[in-house]
């Protein structure tokens, strides 16, 4: 597993002159390493001897549990200890060429690299590589033999689809980049790697397609990533918070995904993807509001149902945002806008409820959010219990006790279901919070307060930019061709251009409709000709 580029970056970080050079003496080297890794009891020092006379002292150092033991036994220990004896080397030559022999001739591993300082060696040990120390030789060999326990590629649980690929990212960085590379076999697909985190040294990869993504965007992403100075990156959320444009906004300004097909699609739209080790969530930048309403499946099913489903999602977004607030504004301020019969039945339902509509809505919404939060953290079995308790509390008991009106229960239920139909979790979180703001403003100034709050939210969204792209585009900075993949999802052959405004190579596909029709016409013509000749 290739880690050499990564090491290069690490080397750049530390000043070359400050590094401790390895010496010729094995015991001295090992002593230094041991001192360095004092009290790290998971480091294994495997000493062994090689050669007919067993005179050459070698030591393997690695972190237990992070390497592939079988590989070490077969390809390193086996080769050096057993096979090396079968071909007796010429003693006088050996001294000079021992290193070359081992480096190029003895270890059948795909990843071997030589280094000459102990700092890198320690880093490599902690990354999961094996270091081969050889007595009398200054240079050290790094053998890539990573093999820690990993989760296999499985279906992403947060973004499942009915139709479409089922593979998802895992916690292993390298698997993830491979999954993307498998989808785009283009030399222009670039992967720039770096390590971030003083202590964690987490692998970060920036992926982009060179001739689609704007240079300035890639540079900006790199620049922002390089400014990060933190002890550890444990999840891509850390990266998000450290590079986003506006940290105080409720709206997510990057998009997370654990679907490689989504990443590939984003890359092809000229976006930049940041892969982070130890998490299945990749970061896509820049994003706009529309991308949070898009699901991967939209592009795998036919365009008409996809458009309708997407429209449904937008409606769901609006409903989850304004439904409880509208209820308050209408019942407490402007009952005139509803049909008389409906108003009477709402009034009848609310009769006896002791709280004003705002408090009623808050009680129900907070109860619902509590249930949701409790359900997320609990194991599946107990989660069901929460559902039952919640269903009883929200659905029946509260109404029968006269604390809330049944209409409010309907509103909360509709809101909840609508909030689940927004595909993006982070984005629906933002909507959850804005929902409460709207409830307050509707309780304060009715419909007028609600509209002002919506205008504030819109104003905030208009101010936001994600890596230089207006958050609301393409609704703002209007480009009509970009509208084809927003609320509607038009047929592919109509989406000739890439949707993002900031792509370099704009043409995405060439319409083949007329060619298909041409073929049919040709076939018909030839059929006719054949018929004619048959007649003759």
């Amino acid at each position: 597993m290739g880690l050499f580029t990564r090491r290069k970056l690490a080397e750049e970080k530390k000043d070359e002159s400050q590094k401790i050079k390895s010496s010729k003496s094995l015991s001295e080297n090992i002593g230094l390493v041991k001192k360095y890794l004092k009290d790290c009891d998971d480091i294994v020092y495997k000493e062994f001897r090689v050669g007919l006379e067993q005179k050459l002292e070698f030591t393997l150092v690695y972190t237990d549990g992070m390497i592939d033991r079988d590989f070490i036994v077969d390809s390193v220990l086996g080769e050096l200890m057993i096979h090396a004896r079968e071909v007796p080397p010429d003693p006088p030559q050996l001294k000079d060429k021992l290193f070359e022999l081992v480096r190029y001739g003895a270890i059948p591993s795909v990843e071997i690299k030589e280094i000459d300082n102990l700092d890198d060696a320690v880093l490599a040990i902690l990354t999961g590589d094996v270091i081969l120390f050889m007595d009398g030789i200054e240079k050290l060999l790094v053998i890539g033999a990573k093999g820690w326990p990993t989760r296999g590629v499985s279906e992403p649980s947060t973004e499942s689809v009915i139709k479409g690929p089922r593979d998802g990212f895992t916690e292993t960085y390298r698997f993830n980049t491979a999954l993307v590379r498998r989808r785009i076999r283009d030399p222009k697909l670039k992967l720039k790697q770096m390590q971030i985190g003083r202590r964690s040294c987490t692998d970060i990869g920036i992926m982009y397609i060179e001739d689609i993504a704007m240079e300035s965007l890639v540079e900006e992403v790199q620049r922002r990533l390089k400014t990060i100075d933190i002890d550890a990156i444990l999840e891509s959320g850390y990266i998000e918070e450290l590079i986003e444009d506006n940290s105080f906004s409720l709206f997510p300004q990057v998009k997370f995904t654990e679907r490689p097909d989504k990443v590939a699609a984003a890359l092809l739209e000229g976006r930049v993807v940041i892969m982070v080790d130890n998490t299945p969530f990749a970061i896509i930048v820049p994003v706009t509001v529309t991308s949070f309403f898009q699901a991967a499946e939209d592009y795998y099913i036919r365009w008409l149902p996809a458009t309708i489903l997407r429209l449904l999602r937008y409606i769901a977004g609006v409903v989850t945002l304004i439904a409880p607030a509208t209820y308050i504004a209408v019942t407490a301020y402007h009952p005139g806008i509803l049909p008389s019969e409906l108003v009477l039945s709402i009034a009848a339902a609310r009769e006896g409820v002791p709280f004003p509509a705002v408090i009623e809505a808050l009680i129900m919404e907070i109860t619902f959010e509590l249930l949701r939060e409790a359900g997320v953290r609990l194991p599946v079995l107990i989660g069901g219990v929460v559902g039952i308790v919640g269903g009883l509390v929200i659905g029946q008991a509260a109404v029968e006790a006269g604390i809330v009106s049944p209409i409010m229960v309907i509103i909360v239920a509709v809101t909840a279901i609508a909030s689940f139909s927004i595909p993006d979790y982070a984005f629906s979180n933002a909507f959850r919070l804005f929902r409460f703001l709207l409830i307050f403003s509707a309780g304060f100034l009715g419909l007028y307060g609600m509209i002002l709050m919506i205008l504030l939210i819109l104003g905030h969204m208009a101010k936001l930019k994600s890596f230089g792209v207006p958050y609301l585009s393409p609704f703002v900075s209007f480009v009509s061709s970009d509208m084809k993949d927003t609320v509607p999802r038009l047929p592919l052959f109509l989406m000739r251009k890439r949707p993002l405004q900031t792509v370099r190579d704009k043409i995405r596909l060439v319409n083949n409709r007329h060619l298909i029709n041409q073929l049919e016409a040709d076939a018909e013509a030839s059929n006719k000709r054949r018929d004619n000749s048959d007649k003759k």
Partner: protein
């Protein structure tokens, strides 16, 4: 690319034109138009609207001579620094008064229909402070918010107008073309009121990369506004009859209130219409508000305009509180729009254009070469 580049697109310019001009007065406008021009009001409005396009072209041709510069910047080139600053300050005062007028007119209607007991000050302050938030985002933010609210306003608005189509009596527009000259003359003083907002272009076109590109979007925007006014005047006349319209202060609102759609989730549409109308007022205010704070920063000579946005609240708030009531507000509005608006909309730009052409100022020749 991460910094704001303070550039607005041609599309945004036409949105600014539309959303500025259609503001608080839209409901009242029908009253004026029919009171002055009777059942031919819609034709008269349409023709005046077309004439305003010509006026807007003059404004643009002035701007084209100073690419990349806004009014407070180039006026100093045309008539000198100190006079330029004085004119700019007068201009700011004028726009501040207009903005305050909008705020007050809105508040009066909102108090009438939405929040009768809420204090006027609260309604005003919440509105102005919401605007402050957007204006602080700079011209780009103004451009974007105007762009995004356009469909939010007009799609539902046209649907609402459509819902009342059964209440229309089309024969009310007859007899056509009687006594046209008088109707045109009667209407003329009210035209600046309806089409105020083209003078805002003096500021906004400066933010376009290429001011030459402004002709088309501004024309389209004005055509839209004219079409809108023609439509609502037409609806007012056909819904009530030319004699009845002037009896209503807000004929359009009355028309929307009369609509009754049984079976729909929303039975009465006036609540929705008012909610939409809040947005049009909001956009009218922010476009004016931005000009005020921006020009003020140019007069003072600072780079940023942000720090002036919040203090300006007091000015607009104070001005908006001045009229005693709706009657005085409309009286003052009549004076303001009849006599003052015309100066800033037509006279001043033409004067400046003449000075520029005679004095051969501006960089238009360089631009051509």
């Amino acid at each position: 690319m991460i910094k704001n580049n303070d550039i607005i697109s041609p599309y945004q310019i036409s949105m600014i034109v539309i959303m500025t001009m259609i503001g608080a007065s839209a409901f009242h406008f029908v009253h004026d138009a029919v009171a002055r021009s009777g059942n031919d009001g819609w034709i008269v409005v349409g023709i005046y609207g077309l004439l305003n396009i010509v006026a807007a072209w003059l404004l643009i041709s002035l701007n084209v001579r100073f690419p990349g510069k806004t009014f407070p910047e180039y006026i100093q080139e045309i008539i000198g620094v100190i006079p330029g600053k004085i004119v700019t300050i007068i201009f700011i005062a004028y726009i501040a008064i207009i903005t305050a007028y909008e705020v007050r007119e809105f508040t009066e209607v909102a108090k009438m229909f939405l929040l009768p007991r809420t204090p006027t000050e609260i309604i005003m302050l919440t509105l102005i402070l919401t605007c402050v938030y957007v204006v602080r985002g700079g011209v780009e933010c103004v451009g974007r918010i105007v762009e995004i609210t356009f469909p939010l306003v007009f799609i539902p608005f046209f649907l609402i107008l459509l819902a009342g189509i059964t209440n229309l009596e089309l024969t009310n527009i007859f007899p056509l073309f009687r006594d046209m000259p008088n109707k045109f003359i009667n209407m003329a003083p009210d035209i600046p009121h309806a089409f105020f907002g083209i003078e805002y272009l003096l500021f906004y076109i400066g933010f376009m990369g290429k001011p030459q590109k402004a002709y088309k979007p501004v024309t389209l925007g004005l055509l839209f506004v004219t079409g809108f006014y023609v439509l609502i005047t037409f609806i007012g006349i056909t819904a009530f009859g030319a004699d009845a319209v002037p009896k209503y202060i807000w004929p359009l609102l009355s028309y929307i209130r009369d609509i009754n759609i049984p079976g729909l989730f929303l039975e009465r549409l006036d609540g929705v219409a008012l909610a939409i109308w809040v947005i049009t007022v909001f956009t009218t205010i922010i476009t004016g508000y931005f000009i005020i704070s921006y020009s003020f920063s140019k007069v003072i000579g600072t780079k940023e305009h942000k720090q002036y946005v919040l203090p300006m609240v007091t000015v607009i708030f104070y001005l908006a509180l001045q009229p005693d009531g709706l009657a005085q507000l409309y009286d003052w509005g009549n004076i303001m729009f009849k006599y003052v608006s015309g100066v800033f909309m037509y006279l001043l730009p033409i004067l400046l254009l003449i000075i520029t052409v005679i004095g051969k100022r501006g960089g238009s020749r360089n631009e051509k070469a």
